[in-house]
């Protein structure tokens, strides 16, 4: 009972819930870069919202079901085919033994999620099956997939009912993003205040991964570029290295750092970081922490009916 990786593409890996409570040991959070799209995919195959699924970066990628299986594709928009026939994202797809599922290159966004109705059998490590690609553990042997990998599949629920994500809930991804940010611990070093982040269109550079994203634009002026005493950073933190071009910490970013932390993408918007591909543009909109808290509650309320128990980390 297996799924064979015919084409792994740029980077495909097993991702589920993040590692929790281990940042004091310098273990990054990791997990799905876009946890909302992971939940939407799992919902369509009757699995827990944070069950292990396949995260595909930019595409293309191809898989073969070695037995009958229900699957679902969500996240960045792309062509989906079964044995060369068009298939739809955001709905339950039933594969027969031997069927080949192809994921095309994404048209926008960055990451596609492929959920399976059967459990992918890799050992749970420190509470999750997520792959920490940088640290080299978790998931499938601590690494991204290679062509020819065979994933062992475990127990399968009864026939997954055919579901479709309600159209009004299907996220839309374009090439431009709006991310809301709160001030960081060293935002007082910004010569122009938070406006320095807000009044610009930032572009994601090719130096981007699950660990972090280098942004391009006009360099930021700091009153002091002196390094800080090493302290915590979290996903969504925007650091200002000496070159003045922001570095946005991704889900798998390191847990501490020494560069000034000039802002942070709010928790409610962090899942969108996983959809930022090289050349995507973004606007950063400053909000206060209490507004950010309110926005999160509203977003969770929006999803409560379709994705009960959704956690946005």
């Amino acid at each position: 009972m297996t799924l064979t990786v015919l084409k792994a593409g740029l980077q495909s890996s097993l991702q589920a819930a993040p590692y929790r409570g281990l940042r004091k040991l310098a273990v990054p959070s990791g997990g799905a870069a876009d946890g909302l799209s992971l939940a939407l995919a799992n919902r369509l195959v009757g699995r827990p919202l944070d069950a292990a699924a396949i995260e595909i970066t930019l595409g293309p990628a191809e898989f073969r079901a070695d037995r009958a299986l229900a699957v679902a594709v969500t996240g960045a928009p792309c062509q989906v085919q079964i044995n060369g026939e068009e298939a739809e994202p955001h709905q339950t797809l039933h594969l027969k033994a031997g069927d080949v599922l192809s994921i095309g290159r994404v048209w926008a966004g960055c990451r596609v999620y492929l959920a399976l109705s059967a459990e992918i059998e890799v050992p749970k490590l420190l509470g999750t099956r997520s792959t920490l690609i940088g640290a080299g553990f978790g998931g499938l042997e601590g690494r991204a997939f290679a062509d020819g990998d065979v994933l062992a599949l475990g127990k399968q629920g009864d026939d997954a009912p055919a579901l479709v994500t309600p159209p009004e809930l299907q996220p839309f991804f374009g090439h431009g993003f709006v991310l809301r940010v709160v001030a960081g611990p060293e935002s007082d070093r910004l010569a122009l205040g938070m406006a320095a982040l807000a009044r610009k269109r930032w572009r994601v550079s090719s130096r981007s991964s699950r660990m972090g994203l280098k942004l391009q634009g006009n360099a930021i002026d700091l009153n002091s570029a002196a390094p800080i005493r090493s302290g915590a950073v979290f996903p969504g933190i925007i650091q200002c290295p000496p070159d003045g071009l922001p570095y946005l910490i991704g889900c798998e970013g390191q847990t501490t750092g020494g560069y000034p932390r000039i802002g942070q993408v709010i928790r409610a918007d962090r899942h969108l970081i996983g959809q930022l591909a090289p050349n995507a543009t973004m606007l950063l909109v400053p909000v206060q922490p209490d507004q950010a808290e309110q926005i999160l509650h509203e977003k969770l309320k929006l999803w409560a009916e379709w994705l009960p128990g959704l956690a946005l980390a």
């Binding site: 929790r20 409570g21 281990l22 940042r23 004091k24 040991l25 310098a26 273990v27 990054p28 490590l125 420190l126 920490l132 940088g134 640290a135 080299g136 553990f137 978790g138 709160v182 001030a183 960081g184 611990p185 005493r229 090493s230 302290g231 915590a232 979290f234 390191q254 847990t255 501490t256 750092g257 942070q264 709010i266 928790r267 922490p289 209490d290 950010a292 808290e293 999160l296 509650h297 969770l300 956690a311 980390a313």
Partner: protein, 219 residues
């Protein structure tokens, strides 16, 4: 230093703390309902899930923690660690330059390093990587101009005023003075990191043959 609290929407940081206060507050924060408790060199960061706890409640809890006289030295509750270190070639790549910066002969460097009372200030950079500090006056040791393409797991470096322990092999920019026999991080273990913040660390010298024996000869 005076402490102050920075607050985002799901984490906050008590900053401006002396090192021993970081460890004491980190110990006092355990069991306080925080998702993550992250010691820094002069700060303690605490995160929470806004679906479980309000910003206001988190801030109030942090203020109470910062204002408490949680001085009970947590180091006394964590057993000190003894690490077996080899200061010999080929593991002490940069002993010459580090000794010179410290005003020591290369031969005297191991004795100096092993004699210090080291303490884990924090973990960071990569899983299990420990930052150790001591009371000795250490000049600001610079990063290697040309980072090494590969340092071995267990390599011991000195950078700034910090002694850093590499848990994994990989590229590294810290000047290296030796290598320890112990495994610092094992994700398969129920307690994956050998060291934790606040813990006292003692170095015990071993020779290259003993290091090879203890590491199974792994290079």
């Amino acid at each position: 230093m005076s402490q102050s609290i920075y607050c985002a929407d799901d984490w906050l940081m008590i900053q401006g703390l002396p090192a021993e206060r970081v460890a004491a507050l980190a110990a006092a924060a355990e069991g306080g309902g925080w998702d993550d408790i992250v010691p820094g060199l002069d700060s303690l960061s605490l995160s929470w899930d806004p679906a479980q706890r309000s910003l206001e409640a988190a801030h109030a809890a942090a203020e109470a923690l910062a204002g408490s006289d949680a001085d009970a030295a947590p180091a006394t509750t964590i057993a000190p660690a003894t690490l077996h270190i080899c200061y010999e070639a080929p593991w002490a790549h940069d002993a010459d330059i580090v000794a010179e910066l410290l005003g020591l002969s290369t031969d005297a460097l191991p004795g100096w390093h092993a004699a210090q009372d080291w303490r884990v200030a924090m973990l960071g950079f990569q899983p299990g990587f420990a930052y150790l500090t001591c009371d000795a006056r250490i000049p600001d040791i610079p990063r290697l101009a040309d980072p090494r393409a590969r340092v071995e797991a267990g390599s011991v470096g000195l950078l700034g005023q910090i002694c850093g322990l590499y848990p994994h092999a990989g590229p590294g920019g810290w000047p290296i003075i030796g290598r320890i026999a112990e495994t610092l991080f094992d994700p398969q273990a129920s307690s994956p990191a050998l060291l934790q913040a606040g813990q006292a660390v003692r170095f015990e010298r071993i020779d290259a043959a003993e290091l090879a024996r203890r590491t199974g000869g792994a290079a």
